[in-house]
């Protein structure tokens, strides 16, 4: 179903001050009213209810929303009814308050845009349409006209391709945007470098192998070997060389040589010991030492022995001079005797000290007894109760008021001239003094008694430790006896030292003699050693035909030569082995390089293939990009020429048949670069001329703008086949108006556009009402006349004109 507007009710909207309902359900609606009665209000109200915005007002005043409410009202309201809309909606209510516009406009966003740009031509817009289209101070590639043309031609998709393939135009951009590409390039150059390096390395290694072959040949010659013909035989050669090792022989020779050297050393010792003279001398020396020792034992030795024996009763553990070193025995005895003399001396001294102390203690005790007795006498001189009596008398003092004794009642004056109170006080003082003296004496006595007790205890202790006179005497005797023994021991000291030396001499002589006796045995074992060595060396050994030392020397010389020759052979053999091994290692390095070369070669080929494929894609993209530009150019030229320009020229010509310059879209001069919708004029004879704004009169410029609007509207699929035009004829002359009326009729009756036109001129309104009258049965025209009543309220008088059969033609 074709989308249709049904009616709009405006309440307090802009210049409309009462609720006004405007019917819109006709192919043509003509709205007439004097200026200020609300024609534009109705059209802008329709736009607001459809789209939620009024761009034509916004262009003039961004804050236009604040002026939508009629003066004197609090809020405005629009109720629009339509049908057949793609989104299925049929009603929209918009409320305008001081807080803004609320409500859900009737059209979805894309249709709203389409309506504002292609269906509604506001009066304010018409005069500036070309400026608006061409953009103010904007680059023509971004002018609204260009954008619209691009959208119209669907060039977005082509531009998306051209822009999207921009990278393909330059390999540097590809590198930046596709890191994998530069990565592959880098890897190719890396791999090529590696191949160069490997080739160089192989050349070096081949040179090295040649040189080493020569060296190996030289090394093998002395060993009687030669370079095998095939590389595989190198292992056999190596095995052979390993097998020819002389290490075991060398070790045997070295061991025999060590044995022989030891034998030579021992031979020298044996030779020194083994002479008969030497043995005789040793035997004599031994005998003499033994004899001297025996002499000593008879003399000084006996004295020592007896002395020590005499001590055994006292010191049973003393060593005997006969069984050990006599000096040791002597020193042990001296030590024991000295210690006992010291002990006895101390015992004697202690007993002397005890005796003298006891004498002192006894004298002291006698003195203390005397002192104690004296203290007792003094204590007796003082009354024991003096203290308590003094206290009792002190209690009486307050009762003495006269010379009369409060105790006995006698007059004291009878006894003394001293007043009674004084006499009592004197007595109290005397008693107190006596009490103090008594206490001091008692303390003194206690001290004396304690001192006496201490002395008594000490005395008892000393008496217990005191030895008897007999014991002390025995001790003295013992000490004297020991002192004599000590003198005797000291006396033999020198002789004992000599004896010790004699014993050592005898022992040494005996030892040497025994060694000399052993040498004979050792020599025969040594000869056996040398014989065995010669056998191991496979040398002859003829003893005793040749002296042992001569043969030993010959054998040692032989081992030296043998070792040298064996060592030389080992060196050559080891060198040859090392050369073979080194050669083998070089050859295996070469094999590794050959393998690596193969791998890198395959890799670089793969990478080149990959890059080749990518490059082919880039080339395809470039080609595509060029083709896109060509296609775009051809589309632009075709559409401009055949569609847009033809339609625009047709529309323009209908309104201005006499104008020689027809406005048109200029064809792009070059295929690359941005598409720009630039306007120009073309003379009817075909020459291109300048921009319409410079070439056309004001009236025709208006016509050009109006027809451009219509051409663009007609170029699109009529999703909204509506044309709402606000007073388009204000600057048209009558001829133009007549033509325009015919065009409107064509658009309405033949192109099925639903048209709403606002007109302020009465004659023109009537003319258009006639021109746009219903022409066929379903056709209908609504005229709305706006005005104000006596009290200034807006009223709208709508007339529905329906088709009636015309009698003119039937009459004709």
């Amino acid at each position: 179903m074709t989308p249709q507007l049904e009616a709009i009710t405006l309440t307090n909207f802009r210049s409309i001050n009462t609720p006004v309902r405007v019917p819109l359900d006709a192919p043509v609606v003509l709205i007439h009213g004097q200026n200020g009665t609300g024609k534009t209000s109705i059209l802008s109200g329709i736009e607001l209810a459809l789209t939620g915005d009024i761009p034509s007002l916004r262009r003039v005043d961004a804050g236009y929303q604040q002026h939508l409410i009629n003066k004197g009202a609090q809020s405005a309201r629009l109720d629009l009814v339509a049908r057949g809309l793609p989104n299925g909606r049929s009603e929209a209510t918009m409320t305008v308050t001081s807080n803004g516009i609320t409500g859900n406009p009737l059209l979805p966003l894309d249709l709203a845009k389409s309506y504002s740009e292609r269906c509604y031509l506001a009066q304010a817009t018409l005069g500036k349409l070309l400026e608006i289209y061409q953009g103010q101070n904007a680059q023509s590639s971004f002018s609204p006209l260009t954008l619209f043309v691009k959208e119209l031609l669907g060039l977005d998709v082509l531009e998306a391709i051209v822009e999207g393939l921009h990278d393909a135009g330059d390999v540097r951009r590809v590198r930046n945007s596709v890191p994998a590409y530069s990565d592959v390039e880098r890897r190719i150059s890396d791999a090529e470098r590696r191949l160069t390096r490997i080739a160089r390395g192989m050349k070096d290694i081949d040179r090295g192998i040649d040189a080493q072959m020569k060296e190996l040949q030289a090394a093998l010659a002395p060993l009687g070997e030669s370079i095998p013909s095939s590389t595989a035989d190198f292992d056999a050669l190596l095995k052979d060389l390993e097998a020819r090792s002389s290490k075991n022989r060398l070790m045997t020779v070295a061991r025999v040589r060590r044995d022989l050297l030891a034998a030579a050393e021992r031979l020298r010792t044996i030779e020194a010991n083994s002479s008969v003279d030497e043995r005789t001398r040793l035997e004599e020396s031994d005998l003499s030492a033994r004899r001297q020792l025996a002499d000593w034992r008879e003399g000084s030795g006996k004295v020592l022995s007896e002395t020590i024996s005499s001590l055994l009763s006292t010191f049973p553990s003393l060593p005997s001079p006969d069984s050990t070193d006599p000096e040791v025995a002597r020193l042990a005895a001296v030590g024991a005797v000295d210690a006992d003399i010291r002990r006895l001396s101390e015992l004697i001294t202690t007993q002397e000290k005890v005796t003298s102390r006891l004498v002192e203690i006894r004298a002291e005790m006698a003195r203390l007894d005397e002192r104690s007795r004296r203290l007792d006498e003094q204590i007796a001189a003082h009354a024991a109760t003096a203290g308590s009596l003094a206290q009792a008398l002190s209690g009486i003092i307050p009762h003495i008021h006269s010379e009369e004794c409060p105790v006995c009642g006698r007059d004291y004056r009878e006894r003394s001239a001293i007043p009674l109170a004084s006499a009592v006080s004197t007595k109290i003082n005397s008693l107190n003094e006596s009490a103090g003296m008594l206490e001091a004496l008692s303390k003194e006595k206690a001290t004396a008694i304690a001192r006496l007790a201490n002395l008594r205890r000490e005395s008892e202790k000393l008496v217990a430790t005191q030895s008897s006179q007999v014991t002390i005497e025995e001790t003295n005797t013992q000490r004297a006896r020991l002192q004599i023994v000590k003198q005797r021991l000291d006396g033999v000291a020198q002789s004992v030292a000599q004896a010790t030396a004699l014993i050592e001499t005898a022992a040494a002589a005996t030892r040497k003699l025994s060694e000399a006796r052993e040498s004979g045995v050792q020599l025969s074992s040594l000869i056996e050693t040398v014989r065995q060595g010669a056998g191991q060396l496979k040398q002859t050994f003829i003893y005793p035909e040749q002296p042992l030392d001569t043969q030993l020397t010959q054998l040692l010389d032989f081992t030296e030569r043998e070792e040298e020759s064996l060592n030389t052979f080992e060196e050559q053999r080891t060198a040859a082995i090392s050369k073979v091994e080194s050669l083998q290692s070089q050859q295996s390095s070469r094999a590794v390089m050959v393998k690596e070369q193969g791998i890198v070669q395959i890799e670089v080929e793969g990478l080149r293939k990959a890059k080749g494929k990518a490059d082919a894609t880039i080339e395809i993209a470039r080609g595509l990009s060029r083709t896109v530009l060509d296609v775009r150019t051809s589309i632009v030229q075709r559409v401009f020429n055949k569609s847009l320009n033809r339609l625009w020229a047709d529309l323009f010509t209908r309104l201005a048949p006499e104008e020689d310059f027809v406005p048109a879209f200029a064809l792009p001069r070059k295929s690359s670069g941005a598409v720009e919708a630039v306007l120009e004029t073309i003379h009817r004879r075909g020459q291109r001329a300048g921009n319409p704004q410079t070439m056309l009169s004001a009236g025709n410029l208006n016509t050009a703008a109006l027809t451009l609007f219509l051409a663009l509207h007609l170029s699109l699929e009529p999703k909204l086949p509506w044309l709402l035009i606000d007073d388009p004829v204000q600057s048209m002359d009558e001829v133009h108006i007549a033509q325009f009326a015919a065009l409107l009729r064509t658009l309405s009756k033949r192109c099925e556009r639903r048209i709403v036109i606002a007109i302020h001129e009465r004659p023109l309104f009537e003319y258009l009402a006639l021109e746009l009258s219903p022409a066929f049965p379903e056709d209908k025209l609504i005229t709305v006349e706006l005005g104000r009543n006596a009290s200034g309220e807006t009223n709208a008088r709508a007339t529905h004109h329906i088709w009636r059969e015309d009698r003119v033609v039937s009459a004709a």
Binding site: L153, G606, T617, P657, L714, A738, C751
Partner: protein, 191 residues
């Protein structure tokens, strides 16, 4: 071109556009009008078109005739729009203004000019049906035109074209992806 052939030309042009010729002189509200030609629109067009020759008839007579026809139509309460095509020298501006008050006047000019630059067609355009270009969402289908120009079977091209409707960045990322795949495909063969 002769005078009569100019009238014929007008009649022929309008006839092609669906106008029906009326016999002349035609009668309206009992009055006879001896116009050079008269045509009436068919179907959705209800125009009454008369053709006058300013050489054969004076401007004054033409003006009176047009006004009379208009009045006759009014008396019949006809709503048909009236158009008068004036062939021959153009009447004065004041006469044209007077005529224009009651009818659409198309002063196509002297017949000797009519063969030049489609002047006649330009003047009559307003009476002719409007030839609209075929409309779709758009005036062209660039992608399918492009497809005809390139090897659409090529995998790269078809992928790139496929991403085009999604915009520049989609094309860009498709290109990048294909290049990356090219670079990766051989590597995977290698492995």
């Amino acid at each position: 071109m002769t005078y009569s052939s100019s009238i014929d030309q007008v009649v022929s042009l309008l006839g092609d556009a669906g106008y029906r010729s009326l016999r002349t002189p035609f009668v309206l509200a009992g009055l006879q009008f001896a116009v050079s030609a008269a045509l009436v629109g068919s179907e959705r067009s209800s125009d009454l078109v008369i053709v006058e020759d300013t050489v054969a008839t004076t401007s004054r007579e033409i003006q009176i005739r047009i006004e009379t026809i208009a009045r006759a139509m009014d008396s019949l309460d006809s709503k048909r729009p009236l158009t008068a095509i004036l062939i021959g020298p153009r009447p004065s501006a004041s006469e044209l203004d007077a005529m224009s008050r009651v009818a659409r006047i198309l002063p196509v000019g002297p017949s000797s000019f009519l063969n030049q630059n489609d002047i006649l067609r330009n003047w009559l355009a307003v009476l002719l049906p409007l030839q609209l270009p075929p409309t779709g969402d758009r005036l062209a289908d660039p992608l399918s035109e492009l497809s005809k120009q390139v090897d659409s079977k090529d995998a790269v091209i078809s992928e790139l074209l496929g991403s085009a409707p999604l915009g520049e960045s989609a094309v860009k990322s498709t290109l990048h992806r294909i290049i990356e795949q090219d670079l990766a495909s051989v590597e995977s063969n290698e492995a």
